[in-house]
């Protein structure tokens, strides 16, 4: 039987998620025996024509040509899986969605007219049907291998959607919020990293995006009680998954609170 054809595609991103595939040092060569690496420019000059059985897509849609390219990739792919915060939520470059991209372009480039860009950074699923989204900034190596194994075996991947808190308990971490009053996004953030930040004595900063049943409103109260001002609350939600629905709304809520605070000060005066 012919091996399934694997393609790896890149849009706006840091290369970190496809590097995660190359970081599977012990599994890379066996994997190449299981699948035919048909298109992966970061790893090989060889190109095998599509269609492809499985496409992994890294990065977000940010240019007019991206809009066309993702349609071609979808049409050439039997299954399409997005990997990482950029591909699943628009990534950190989605911070442009809250600003004037013209101003950004002129801050970075003396001749902004040479640079073609869209005014928003959007996830792949906003443009084409996606068969599975793997979260993380970057994706976790073990989760990536699980997704690939599941695809080869024709079963759904075993990826938990619960919060980082559950991973903290499993790992035996002391809760940084309860024990040290450190603000932490763990309660609203999806597991997958292995509760890394709390294990290093810092609060989670949400790089895996929202978990499946988050209560951001309650967490904002906690973050404020632990000393974050409105600006800090806004910024902590507006980083690597700024445009994902839950973090987007949490950011707006923080902004409203900031405005209400300013209004109240105004009344006091």
């Amino acid at each position: 039987m012919a091996r399934p054809k694997l393609a790896v595609w890149k849009f706006a991103s840091c290369d970190g998620c496809q590097l995660t595939l190359l970081n599977c040092e012990d599994e890379l060569i066996p994997l190449a025996g299981q699948v035919e690496i048909a298109y992966f420019p970061e790893a090989t000059r060889a190109v095998v024509e599509g269609p492809y059985d499985l496409s992994l897509v890294e990065g977000s849609i940010t240019t007019p040509s991206d809009l066309e390219r993702i349609q071609d990739i979808r049409a050439a792919s039997r299954r399409l899986i997005t990997i990482g915060a950029c591909a699943t939520s628009g990534g950190i470059q989605a911070l442009r969605n809250f600003a004037d991209v013209e101003e950004f372009r002129s801050v970075v480039y003396a001749h902004p007219e040479y640079v073609e860009t869209l005014d928003r950074s959007t996830p792949i699923a906003a443009h084409v049907a996606v068969d599975y989204e793997l979260r993380g900034c970057p994706v976790d190596r073990h989760q990536l291998l699980e997704v690939l194994a599941a695809e080869l075996q024709g079963r759904p991947p075993r990826i938990s959607r619960h919060s980082v808190c559950v991973e903290c308990k499993r790992r035996g971490n002391v809760c940084v919020t309860v024990a040290h009053g450190t603000p932490c996004l763990g309660p609203v953030t999806q597991a997958g990293c292995g509760a890394l930040c709390p294990a290093f004595d810092r609060g989670c900063y949400g790089c895996f995006g929202p978990q499946d049943t988050p209560n951001a409103t309650s967490l904002i109260t906690r973050l404020r009680a632990h000393g974050m001002d409105e600006g800090q609350v806004l910024r902590v939600f507006r980083t690597f998954n700024a445009a994902s629905e839950v973090f987007l709304r949490a950011g707006e809520q923080a902004q409203e609170q900031a405005q209400a605070g300013r209004d109240a000060q105004e009344v006091d005066r």
């Binding site: 706006a12 590097l19 995660t20 012990d26 970061e42 790893a43 090989t44 600003a99 800090q232």
Partner: protein, 437 residues
């Protein structure tokens, strides 16, 4: 892709360069054996980091700028920390400096092993990529992957993970590793040292095209040791300046064919300048440890290396240096130092530079009194090397006129990979087209 122009010219174009980090292309036009145009086209879409850093807090650049590059996030974190600490008038104690150097060694090992074995060696050995190479030479690729894994393991212990480490903060680290955790890495690093020495022997046996380029080299030079995480800026033109004077000597400008800004030294009067392994090695050969210096000498490298194709040997020598440094730091580590110092914000401007695997990475921030970032400037190594890469391509096409289009195109791609270009970094980069008549 190669085609004739109606005016008798000839174009060589590679639309997607392979085995580079990020998206770029090459376009070369020739008429009567002369190169009339060379463009390293960087079409990787811009992400506007310098734009959205404005308005963020002074504590945020290490986590945010790490996301510029998945291959060298530590470089971004370190340059950012130095720059913010400089702006706030804070200097960090020796233990934190040592740990920064250790984490950075992990990144050099991971990044150089990736480039030497997976991206560059296939050019010398005639393969499309490392997977194809592994089919015929499994032991070679296994050595490379084992080295790369050692770098990643070191980064994971110190930084939490190898891509976008989470343990770095302005002022130091969130948590100090314990002696027991670092000592546990010793067997892995001892094997890595053997593998790194074997790498120098392997790559020094490759065939290298004759090519010497006259560029001014620019690299850091610290008070002691080989430049990794900090240093003053020195050049092969005998210039020597503080990191804070970087903007006075190096200015960036935009060309229509690239999303990455080009850079020039002192107005470009002395031609292109180059950063990275060749520059670091040539300007700091005296600073290599005994193991790395002896390995270089056995590989036939003198104190100066001006052949870009030999950069693979220099990277291998730097692998030896990075592993030996990591072992030295681990052996000297003791428990009990504070993981960070306070960095209270103040209004001002700060400058930071470190040696990313690909060369000098410069950061500059302007802060207001509450620590809000008013302005940010990031000058990555690949941007600075674009002019040198284009000049190499021009020299190469005009020298090897006897090569057929297919062989010439491959050699041009190889020449680009000499610089291990990181296009994701540079965009704020790369497409190959060659034309000739």
């Amino acid at each position: 892709m190669n085609h004739k122009l109606t005016d008798g010219g000839h174009v060589m174009h590679v639309g997607t360069l392979a085995r580079v980090e990020g998206e770029g292309a090459m376009h070369i036009e020739m008429r009567d054996g002369r190169v009339t145009d060379v463009q390293l086209r960087i079409y990787e879409p811009p992400r506007f980091y310098e734009g959205f850093l404005r308005g963020r807090a002074w504590t945020e650049p290490p986590d945010i700028t790490a996301r510029i590059c998945g291959i060298c996030p530590v470089a971004y974190q370190m340059s950012a920390c130095w720059a913010i600490e400089d702006a706030c008038g804070v200097s960090v104690p020796e233990a934190i400096r040592q740990l920064r150097r250790l984490l950075y060694c992990g990144e050099w090992i991971e990044s150089h092993a990736l480039h030497v074995y997976l991206l560059h060696a296939p050019d010398f050995l005639g393969y499309d990529g490392a997977i194809e190479l592994a089919a015929d030479h499994p032991a070679v690729v296994e050595t490379g992957l084992r080295l790369k894994k050692a770098g990643n393991q070191l980064m994971t212990v110190v930084g939490g993970r190898s891509i976008h480490p989470i343990n770095v903060r302005v002022g130091g680290f969130h948590r100090m590793p314990r002696v027991s955790e670092l000592r546990a890495l010793r067997p892995v690093l001892e094997q890595a040292l053997e593998d790194a020495l074997a790498t120098v022997r392997l790559v020094s046996g490759f065939d290298f095209p004759d090519m010497e380029q006259p560029y001014e080299y620019v690299a850091l030079r610290p008070e002691v040791g080989y430049p990794i995480e900090e240093g003053r800026v020195v050049t092969s033109g005998s210039h020597d300046f503080e990191v804070r004077d970087f903007p006075a000597h190096i200015d960036e400008f935009q060309v229509p064919h690239s999303h990455a800004l080009h850079a020039r030294l002192d107005g470009g009067a002395r031609g292109p300048y180059v950063v990275g392994p060749l520059a670091r090695y040539t300007l700091n050969h005296d600073r290599l440890g005994d193991l790395a210096r002896n390995a270089a000498s056995e590989a036939g490298l003198g104190p100066v290396c001006r052949n870009p194709f030999r950069s693979i040997i220099v990277r291998a020598v730097e692998l030896v240096e990075a592993v030996a440094e990591a072992l030295r730091i681990i052996d000297g580590w003791s428990d009990g130092s504070a993981p960070s110092v306070a960095v209270p914000p103040r209004a001002g401007e700060g400058y930071g530079a470190s040696e990313a695997p690909r060369g000098i990475l410069f950061h500059r921030y302007v802060l207001d009194e509450d620590g809000t970032i008013l302005d940010a400037q990031i000058v990555p190594p690949t941007s600075q090397n674009q002019a040198g890469i284009e000049a190499d391509l021009k020299a190469l096409v005009e020298t090897w006129t006897d090569l057929d289009d297919h062989a010439l195109q491959h050699r041009c791609e190889h020449a680009i990979r000499n610089y291990d270009p990181c296009i994701s970094c540079a965009t704020h980069f790369l497409d190959l087209t060659v034309g000739r008549s």
